[in-house]
């Protein structure tokens, strides 16, 4: 239920109170801007609520590596300042054949060039990091100890709290229904709780982004579709049993790690959609069990407590659309994160805040150009997990 009044007007309105909207509000408010977030349920209730915790810099292109390098700096900074946990327990990609090793050598070279200290390690070294691993088929692993994990819900709450401290308004249980536009200029938004006047709007609704674009009358094709991805959690086990995020492309594009509560959490590549349905499926339970137990045999004897589903808001090249939409004055988009938006959020907040307040940013935002789809300039597929 709504606890805060909808302000009559706000300089900037962010639609969507997930990690992207909240970190952006935090960044803008910290810079002294007047900003309001409008969230249809509660802060962090969408895909952020269902997300798998991982923070990685191991991407395969220059832009994403640079953005994630910056993002990790910000995660480190804000986790210390705001007192939520960011455990730099690393990301471990298990590799099983020469082609995979060659590909990861190329990725590692790009990562190293921008100061991300990823190394190719031996199966034995991988087993030292995660003693429960079955390395009988592993021939090498890509290892970056500075990657890590953050609880999505606690961190979103921490950013929300501090955004408010800097003067941002976070209005929950309020749904945007339409735009008020006059002569190509945004004048305000209609919501189920009345109108808010504003001139600058950011669409940070990820899986719902196309709905907001349609309300804004945007003609530019920005193909973002919701896909159902699922996750599993096991009974809690002794803490520290699986420290890093472990990835295996061979076994179903699986990712798994241990939560701060002790359960083993993760998912596989199994994808359904486009759909807004979120019912977990039996087929997922089967697949995730099969793949996980091949990566870590001890999981065979652990109980599955629960499965759930969330959206990946996917674009054709698995990169988000971040930038200014020229056809409507002062309309911005930061959506379509394709399964890795949580980890990017602090850097995306910085980029979008730069665009709004200075018109430019030193981070390579053009990689995420919303017009690339229209121009047919898809990027290389961003390394999507799960």
């Amino acid at each position: 239920m709504p606890t805060k009044e909808l302000p009559e007007r706000s300089e900037i309105v962010i639609i969507g109170g997930g990690i992207i909207g909240v970190t952006l509000a935090h960044e803008l408010a910290k810079r002294g801007e007047e900003v309001t977030v409008i969230e249809k349920r509660f802060v962090g209730s969408g895909s952020t609520f269902r997300c798998g915790t991982g923070i990685r810099q191991q991407f395969n292109d220059e832009a994403n590596v640079q953005v994630m390098k910056r993002s990790v700096e910000l995660w480190k900074h804000y986790s210390e300042e705001y007192g939520f946990s960011f455990e730099q327990t690393g990301y471990l990609f298990l590799l099983y054949d020469d082609d995979e090793v060659e590909e990861f050598k190329r990725n590692i070279a790009i990562q190293n060039r921008f100061g991300v200290p990823t190394r190719l390690i031996t199966p034995e070294e991988a087993k030292e990091i995660v003693p429960l691993l079955d390395i009988s088929e592993v021939i090498a692993a890509s290892w970056n100890p500075t990657d890590g994990k953050v609880d999505p819900f606690y961190s979103t709450a921490a950013f929300a709290l501090n955004a408010e401290r800097f003067g941002a308004k976070l209005v929950e249980y309020t749904e945007v229904k339409d735009f008020i536009i006059e002569n190509g200029e945004i004048k305000g938004l209609k919501t189920n709780r009345g109108v808010i006047k504003t001139g600058i709007v950011v669409n940070a609704t990820n899986a719902w982004a196309k709905l907001i674009n349609a309300m804004a009358g945007i003609k530019t094709p920005i193909p973002i579709e919701p896909y159902k991805h699922q996750a599993v959690i096991t009974q809690p086990i002794r803490k520290g049993a699986i420290k890093p995020m472990v990835i295996s492309f061979k076994y179903g594009h699986a990712y798994l790690t241990q939560t701060s509560h002790g359960g083993v959490v993760g998912g596989v590549g199994y994808e359904l959609g486009p759909t807004y349905d979120l019912n977990p499926t039996y087929e997922f339970m089967r697949e995730v069990s099969y793949y996980f137990t091949r990566i870590i045999p001890a999981l065979r004897e652990l109980l599955i407590l629960r499965t759930w589903a969330g959206y990946y808001a996917k674009t054709p090249d698995s990169n988000p659309a971040i930038g200014k939409i020229e056809e409507l004055n002062d309309y911005y988009i930061a959506a379509g994160f394709s399964g890795h938006g949580f980890m990017m959020a602090p850097a995306v907040a910085e980029m979008v805040a730069d665009l709004i307040t200075k018109g430019r940013t030193s981070l390579p935002v053009e990689w995420y150009d919303p017009y690339r789809f229209e121009r047919g300039e898809l990027r290389g597929q961003a390394l999507q997990m799960g």
């Binding site: 009974q235 002794r238 339970m285 089967r286 065979r300 004897e301 652990l302 629960r306 759930w308």
Partner: protein, 494 residues
Amino acid sequence: MRPLDLTEKDPSKRITIHFEGKPLEAYEGEKLTVALLANGIYWLTTSTEGRKRGAFTFGPVPMVVNGVKNINGRKTVVKDGIRIERQNYGDFQETVEVDESKPVTRQVVDVAVIGAGPAGIGAALELQEHLTVALIEERGWLGGDMWLKGLPQEGFDGEPKEVIKSLVAQFNDNVRVFRKTIALGIFDKGEYFLVPIVKGDQLIELMARRVVLAVGAVDNILLFENNDIPGVFRRDFALEVMNVWGVAPGKKVAVVGGRPEDIVPELERWGIEYIVVPNPKRVEGTEKVEKLIDMNGNVYEVDAVIVSDGRRPDINPITQAGGKLRFKRGYYMPVLDSQHRIRDGIYVAGSAVSIKPHYANYLEGRLVGAYILGEFGYEAQPCVYEKKLREYEPEAITIHKIEFDAFSLEDVQICGCDVSLKKVDDVVRSGITDLQIIKRLTHLAMGFCQGRFCLFNGAVVVSQRANLDMAKIDLPVARPPLKNVKMKVTAAGG
């Protein structure tokens, strides 16, 4: 006889088991937890935060059996020479034998009936004349909660076990009975419902054209200090040890909760000394219950406490299967259409619908069976059952006012996974009333029981602290698996 045996056991089945190195007397076929109780051993495991726990209230019972960690004590049957040790919740078996599991099998039936209490048995009996039925029961016996009773039940003639036996004896070849079998969920495949079930470590995919949820009700968990310690019994577990296994919960027990009448006659039947304490505040003891203190400061020396506070429908299978809930008579119940369906093809019967006598639940099982027969074009007389069922007004269950000021809140456990009433209350008092958020912040309803025994109390805390109507509280939906399953079982066969 062992210290807590109520009956003489068959001497030809006598075996020796070892607990923490000590040899003990047990009997073939006994559950591990019951064999230990008969020997006066209550404390079996230790929670993540170091709380001692027994087997007869909420929370899991992981134990070390013959050197293998993380074995469910409740589901293990004793064998001669077995070695049992305590462990902490987080201990697990790091090296496992790579045994290839049994291949998954498929079976096709007309109707999958989940739960073999009086309602499930009634449904199967009604359906069997024309349709094939899979009757799925998690426990080792048929008859559900009625099997636990020793005294005659309204509507039926004779001793409950004899009634159940005579009903079950009427099953024909169309009924396939799966005992000690869990259902993982109900998945709509259009032409049929997929109901994956697990018997032992065997995964079976049932393909059923209709589903009956006769999943029963769960006992309420009463909130008082140290309500999780060894020696605290839920009503159903207390009845089970006495009436199924012939073992007493203790030499002298206290009965707490709003429904002492559901257990007291059974204690009297066995001649177990008891005292009814309407307002418990705290139990104490080093390894198990030694005394109970009430709100007035009276101290009772007892060695067990039985919580009998009524039951509420198990709503998890309802919401997982796509059903909606409403709040009425003090509990959440499924929203049904005129034919007892939560949606096309999925029926609900028994105490999963509402709380009423066993005989009424049995009638309701017959009723949904008759509806299904009618749907398949067979002659059926649902109106006969409808009429009889109308004679039973469902019971109302009292919601207690939680004595927040009287309790030391961190000692009151709301959930078996180390979630204290204090953790939940602190979050609610900070202004958060959405159970989804409360779940995330406290871990309420995220453990082994998937909220069965704690979500309701979570809603009560929200309702009483934030002054919200229970009917307006949105309960999180259950997710598969409906019951915990080992990953190797669902991994089987690729």
